[in-house]
Symmetry: C2
């Protein structure tokens, strides 16, 4: 039997329902909740899939998920299914499938925001190390606004091995490193399958990974305050790739 | 007498010390802390300014700042000084001083990350409404990594009045709105003094502000998942402006 986890927030629950890949135990809705479009959507998606929903006192929800904005909706569901890197490469062998590699991101809010931007930018998978990394928990599900259900999450024991495997499969590996000479916008993202490595909040990318990368790029600043939040830095690079793809003649 | 607030985290404390604009009551350091470069910096900056620092048990810090990553350092200091819009315009009347206007951002993590990206991107001020907005608290200080000490924070009663005043002062006002026709990268940020309006996490920008804006721009996506985190969206637009400024021939 799989352990259930709770997810909260309207978007997180709607996207999990839509994905069709999560097993729902039940959905709890605050009985005091005003019914808006999103709540109606949750009710109708749940009905269509035969999922139980219960109206409960808001205090009950506050007990289950304290100190968070649950927006009156909590679902008890199965954790996401991780994807094997081998399977990912097989699935996408005939199409472009850009990736992000996160080398030791610790903060769940950052991980959630990165997943969200990644889905918006057409990224197909996120590679995480099995140790020294934020794991997919309720906070990540919420801050991803449900985007976690639209992307492959790949957990690997060794990021070095994963990068080598990607390179064997003709991926160009780009490391974000503020000591780099090249700028992130000097690269042409449109004619290659890429994997972008982003480093941990404090320590950056490990040396062994930096050495393997095909490109190193920095985000140039206008001031000497050189310290972007890692999810913001990821979004900046990703949306340069989006822009290039949309504007390429 | 001003009320003290606590700020935590090494960067937040270092930047507050460096700014010279904050009154420190004292700095508490965990006695168990291993001394690295940043801690030494805190000690030496504090000594230079005659600020008391105390070594205390880590449990004491956990009591003062529960559930957060204080990194072994907490400072009790005066809140930031807000800037009047009039004074800001007077101070920067002879130079370019781009601004961000935040229409009802609720989440402290988002506000902190936006301030951080803004400073990196050479933005000189953040305009917040006095109501319906996250306020500058300990979380914002921490998630801004101290950037809050390098930018003017301007609180206004009416964003509409503020926008009109900016327009009288030859600012071009750009609203980020996902219904817009133009893309954020269609605009030339290099030959104007701009103010970018970003909307609240759920409700976006209010209609009265949208109507006033000189430009509306969207961030185009590669998928139908159209839902960027607001700090990521802000970073994407800001760094397009940085890129243009750095690459303009």
């Amino acid at each position: 039997m799989t352990e259930n986890l709770y997810i909260y927030g309207k978007n997180a629950v709607i996207e999990a329902l839509r994905s069709g890949t999560r097993n729902f135990n039940k959905i709890l809705i605050a009985d005091s909740m005003r019914f808006d479009e999103k709540n109606e959507q949750i009710k109708s998606l749940a009905k269509d899939s035969g999922i139980i929903f219960q109206f409960v006192k808001k205090e009950k929800l506050n007990q289950i998920a304290p100190l968070v904005q649950h927006q009156g909706v909590i679902a008890l569901i199965s954790p996401i299914q991780y994807t094997e890197l081998e399977n990912f490469l097989e699935t996408f062998k005939d199409e472009s499938a850009p990736l992000i590699i996160l080398d030791g991101i610790e903060d769940s809010h950052n991980l959630g925001a990165i997943i969200r931007s990644a889905v918006c930018a057409g990224i197909k998978g996120i590679i995480l190390p099995s140790r020294r990394s934020a794991q997919i928990n309720s906070t990540v599900e919420k801050t991803s606004a449900g985007a976690i259900n639209r992307i492959s999450i790949i957990k690997v024991n060794s990021l070095v091995n994963a990068v080598q495997k990607l390179q064997e499969h003709n991926y160009w590996v780009i490391a974000s490193d503020h000591h780099a000479n090249d700028n992130y916008f000097d690269i042409d993202y449109t004619d290659m399958n890429f994997a972008i490595i982003m480093g941990a909040e404090h320590s950056g990318i490990s040396k062994s990974l930096l050495k393997l990368a095909d490109y190193r790029v920095k985000i140039p600043m206008l001031t000497n305050f050189n310290s972007l939040n890692v999810s913001n830095a990821t979004a900046i690079i990703l949306f340069e790739s989006v822009k290039q793809k949309l504007t390429k003649k």
